[in-house]
Each structure stands twice: as C-alpha cells, then as structure tokens.
C-alpha cells in the first residue's frame, strides 16, 4: 500500500526523523494559511498524488509569499498531473503539501528495502540524490553503499556510521544521520514497511540534514495489525477495478488488451497471459481467483472483468487443486444468468472435480466454448476476438 508524501512525513516526524516544516491543504485558502505558519522566505508547493517525477510535470512549484502560495495552489489543485509514473491519463490533484524551502548544499539518496537474496533488510545510500537510484546502480554502482540489517527492533549504530562516513559526512553530520536513520529504521520495522525511500536526503548550507521527499510503501499482508497505517489508504489513487477486486480478496491487475482472464493461482494466471500473447492475442487483465474460489467469488470476478469495456471475450482457466471445478462451473452458470454476459466465454477446467464441472456447463445450455488444454483455450480465445 502506498501513502501520500504528507502522510509519510507525518510518520517520519513521529519517529524523530527530520523533515522541513509543512502542512497539507485541500484549498488555496488552506494553503495560504499553512504558508503563514511557516518561516518567512521560500515556500514549496507540492502536488499530492501517488506518483513520482512530479517536478517535471509541474507538480512542484516555488512561491515567495503566502499570497503567491495561494495562487500556485489554486493552479495546482484540480489539475491533472502527468508524470512518467502516472500513465498517459494522469492523476487529479486533490491536495497539496506546503513546505518551507531549504538552502540545499547537497542531495543524497537513502532507502530501506527488503534484500530478497540476502533475506535481510538493506540500507541503501548514495551521494547521487534526487535521481532514480536504479539509474545510479546501472551507471555508477560504486557510488552506492549497501548495509544489511536484521528485522529489528533497532538498527545497530555501526550501520548508520558506515552509511554516514561512506557518504562523506563529517563526525557531527554522522551523529545527525544516526538519529535520522535509526528513526527511519524503527518506523520501517514497527509499521511493517516494504519500502522507505528518502530521495533526496538533503544537507543544507548550515549543515543540517533532513528528508526533502519521502516515499513509504507498506506490506499489504501486515495491514491487519497496522490499523493506523491502513487508515491512510486513499482509494481515489487506486484503480477502481483493482480496489473492487481487493475488497473481495481477489488479485486483479488491469492490462490494455481485450481478452478478459479468470484463473486460479498467480503462476497459472501469469502463464495464461503469456499463452494468450504467445498465440497473438492481448489479455485485458490478470486475475487470480485464489484458493478459496467458489460460486459467489466467480460471479464477483466476472463483474470486475466486465467493468472493462475493452473486454471482447473471457477466458476461464481453472486447474483445480484446492479449488473445485464443479463450484467454479456453478459460478460461471450463475454469473452468465444474472449478469447477462454477452461476450464469448472460453472455459477450461482441469483437476479436482473437472468432470462434474464440465457436465454442469454442458447441461446449462449456455453457449460456452470449452477447451481441454491451456494451449487450446488460449487459441480459441484469440480466434474468437478475431486475432492471431
């Protein structure tokens, strides 16, 4: 789960991690009010959307007075911001963050991530801040410092010192970084983050360090024990289909093709997309109906697939293990009856109770194209939408 910058910075403050003064605003008047409460001088107005690269798209603007903040916020609120990460449709700006400007001496990168290969956390830092860390890793890997750490509860002091001295900080700045990084680390492990990224971390001309921008991602599987984090969810930022799927415990990812897919199991679902493309077609979505798929869930899954207007056929691919094919077939029949599915349905049932499932489909009188193998199912789906 992602949160906005203003929410992330609130959390940083709670953990004693230095951030500039600032506040969130939903109207130009609120923005002006926030600016009045800040130090005099340069103020930064930042669009609050779940996407990076905001500066290039006009989502980060400077202002020199509360009146100018009001004017800038007025232009920004309600605009559709397009960045490299928003997709071509862009994102509507509903809130801005108003923050004191800083005299920046240098920008750094600092992040905490899961290191899957090492099965530890990794603190990653670089003297190249304000740019994508992936680009730094590709071009100048020697400028990246990586220190591994266990899953808490505290970050050992030496880890912060390795990072600080590695970045070229002096002893005083390293002390500051120890406070900064130990707070960030406690936030990470106590709130079940999956990513904490400070980019850039800045060193000011007066020798202070703080987080100029911040991105926090949280482990969806831990939200059950992080109620305050779960409350930060902004549904407006999420794909409505993905959100609807998530509410009923289905994994759904929208794609740009025209063959809707309903599959059980993430691996088979990915492989089904691969198979459709291999046959010359284009999948409209990834959908894993999961191990608990039954009649009701199948019906809901169809509803979500059909919300996509591009869908011109639906491929159902079930390999029953935990899942029973007869229950899936009942769901298909019920969905077809209740939802009035007008696009062709290609159904492949294998595994647990597949015979019963096929009988249910055959007896339903529905116009279903049945398939025996994965290959046959994909070929038939691609043929029915007139491709391949």
């Amino acid at each position: 789960m992602n949160v906005h910058e203003y929410q992330a910075k609130d959390l940083l403050r709670q953990y004693g991690v230095a951030v500039p003064n600032g506040g969130v605003a939903s109207t130009p008047a609120e923005a002006e009010e926030v600016a009045r409460g800040l130090e005099k001088g340069l103020v930064v107005v930042k669009a609050q959307v779940h996407a990076g690269g905001r500066g290039k798209g006009g989502g980060i603007q400077l202002a020199h007075s509360p009146a100018e903040v009001k004017q800038v916020a007025g232009e920004m609120l309600g605009m559709t911001l397009k960045t490299d990460q928003t997709g071509p449709e862009g994102k509507l700006v509903r809130k801005v963050y108003v923050e004191s400007g800083s005299e920046i001496a240098h920008e750094y990168y600092l992040g905490i991530v899961f290191d899957r290969a090492e099965e530890k956390l990794a603190i990653i830092a670089s003297t190249e801040g304000g740019v994508e860390i992936e680009a730094v890793a590709a071009k100048t890997p020697e400028r990246i410092i990586t220190v591994n750490a266990d899953g808490g509860p505290e970050l050992p002091g030496f880890a912060a010192r390795r990072v600080g001295f590695g970045l070229g900080f002096d002893a005083v700045q390293v002390k500051q970084l120890e406070v900064f990084l130990s707070g960030l680390f406690r936030l990470f492990v106590e709130k079940d983050c999956s990513l904490a990224e400070i980019n850039p971390l800045v060193l000011t001309q007066s020798g202070e360090i703080f987080a100029l921008d911040c991105k926090l991602n949280f482990d969806d599987h831990a939200l059950y024990r992080q109620a305050d984090v779960a409350a930060l969810r902004d549904p407006e930022e999420e794909d409505p289909r993905e959100r609807a799927a998530q509410e009923i415990d289905l994994a759904y990812v929208g794609l740009d093709g025209n063959i809707g897919c309903m599959v059980n199991g993430a691996g088979l679902a990915m492989a089904t997309l691969d198979m459709i493309q291999y046959c010359g077609g284009h999948p409209a979505n990834f959908l894993d109906a999961g191990g608990g798929a039954d009649k009701e869930k199948v019906k809901e899954a169809f509803k979500i697939i059909l919300r996509d207007e591009n869908v011109r056929a639906i491929l159902v691919n079930i390999f029953g293990g935990i899942v029973r094919c007869d229950l899936i077939a009942e769901g298909v029949v019920a969905a077809a009856a209740e939802l009035g599915i007008e696009v062709p349905l290609v159904v492949r049932l294998q595994g647990t109770n597949s015979e019963q499932g096929r009988e249910i489909l055959a007896e339903s009188g529905l116009d279903i194209i049945s398939a025996e193998t994965l290959c046959e199912a994909a070929e038939k789906a691609v043929a029915v939408v007139g491709e391949g």
Binding site: D192, H221, A222, A266, A269, L273
Partner: protein, 275 residues
Amino acid sequence: MGRFHAGLSVEYGTQVVGGVHPGKGGTAIDGIPVFNTVEKAVAETGADASVIFVPPPGAADAILEAADAGIGLTACITEGIPALDMLRAKRSLQGSTLRLVGPNCPGVVTPGQCRIGIMPAQITRPGPVGVISRSGTLTYEAVDQLSRLGIGQSTCLGIGGDAIIGTTFVDALRLFEADPETRAVILIGEIGGSAEETAADFIRDEMSKPVAAFIAGQNAPPGKRMGHAGAIIAGGKGRASDKIAALEAAGVFVAPSPAEIAETLAKNVPDLSGS
C-alpha cells in the same frame, strides 16, 4: 482445511499420525489424535514431518514451533504472512535442522508414496522427473503435461510465491541432483527477485542432470504485484527476460510457452517415459 487435506493425504497413503490445535489436545479428528503443542505431538507419535495451515498472524510462530519440536520437514501452506515475520523467522531458523518448504506453497508430493500439503495427487504418477515451482497451479499444469506424455515424477515440490521462503530453487536442485530416482528436473519460475538467476549459476556449475524451465509473467507490467507477494518487477529487476537469458546461458531448455513445458523436456531428454 487441515482436516480436509489430511484426509486426502491419508487416502494417498501418507502416514498422518497427529494434529496440533492449541486447546483441543486430547481430542481426535477422524481417528487422528490432536495435541496442544507440536512438542507433545512429536513426543507421543514420533512425527518427523508436518504441514502448517495456521492463518497468517500465527504462521511464522508455527514454523518456529516445528523447528523447536525437532520436526525434520514442514510445508507451510499459509498465504499472506507479513514479510518481516518471515525475515525474522528465517533468522531464528539458522542452525536448526528444520527444512521449511514455503510459505504460500502447495507442499510436496512423492508420487505413489507420500503427500504433504494440498496438491491434487491424482494427476501425478511415479517416474524420473523432479518438479520445482514457485507456483502451485502452474506446478499442476506441468505435472499434468508430463503425465499426459507418459512421463512420471520423482517428487513435485512447490517452494512458494512469497519474497522470503524456506527451501529455495538451489536447495531443491541440490536434492534432485543427489536423488537416484531423479533423472531430469523441471523448474518453474516467475517474475520478481533473482532466485532463477541464482539457480542458473548452480545448474551451470554443479548440476549434471538436464533441466527444463518455464518463467511465468513474460508480459507482466513493471511495478505491479501479480498475485504472489514475490511476483513483482521492481527497480528494473526481476524481469522474465533476464531470467530466461540466465537459464539458457546455463544450458537449461526453456519452454517458449507454458503449454510446452513437458514437451520441451521430452524433446531434449530421451527415454523419460515408461521408466
């Protein structure tokens, strides 16, 4: 779910000697005694393997309980364990003798002998091919393809779709390399992480047996989690194309589509059927 699948495992010929459910010790389900702790269950029955169906909040604890009780092999079926819980659990397992399979996996089947977990064992048949996969249903797909070609399996192992798991591809490959019943291996990977690349290094350097593979998610968009917690292309890493290139460079036969996994192996390795 534990009861349902324990029943299927018994039907398959697995010796299920006990269950554990805190607070229900002393009772029995379907004639199988239930204990309050794994320690007690092991002491009373001599169990040396277990399967974990505990919901996510208690699953990492259940893994540690298995290790503490001296269980040799456990398969954790649970999906949705917080990543930090697994990170800490794996740290705690260092030095223990427990072999953990999963979590978020379908378990292990040795056709004709033993079923631990939730795999549909009826599609398997005994034979010379070892199957390892990060995905449950895609394992079934591959096993079904093998069985349809008349090729049986030595052991089928789902290692799980999470970012942090117990038994890795390399662990499983090493076991198959040493297993006299196994003559060839099918490896099914997917996007996310670098386990396939690490497996490719191991295959190139230490495997004498032929390996065929398929990588799922070749058309997955970056930054999107494809169902499995571990199936995500992040920061330009974990792409299918890189994994396929690494495996091919290590001499692995990579199937061009998920419908040709068994065929790819059969085409390159003669005489696997009927043995």
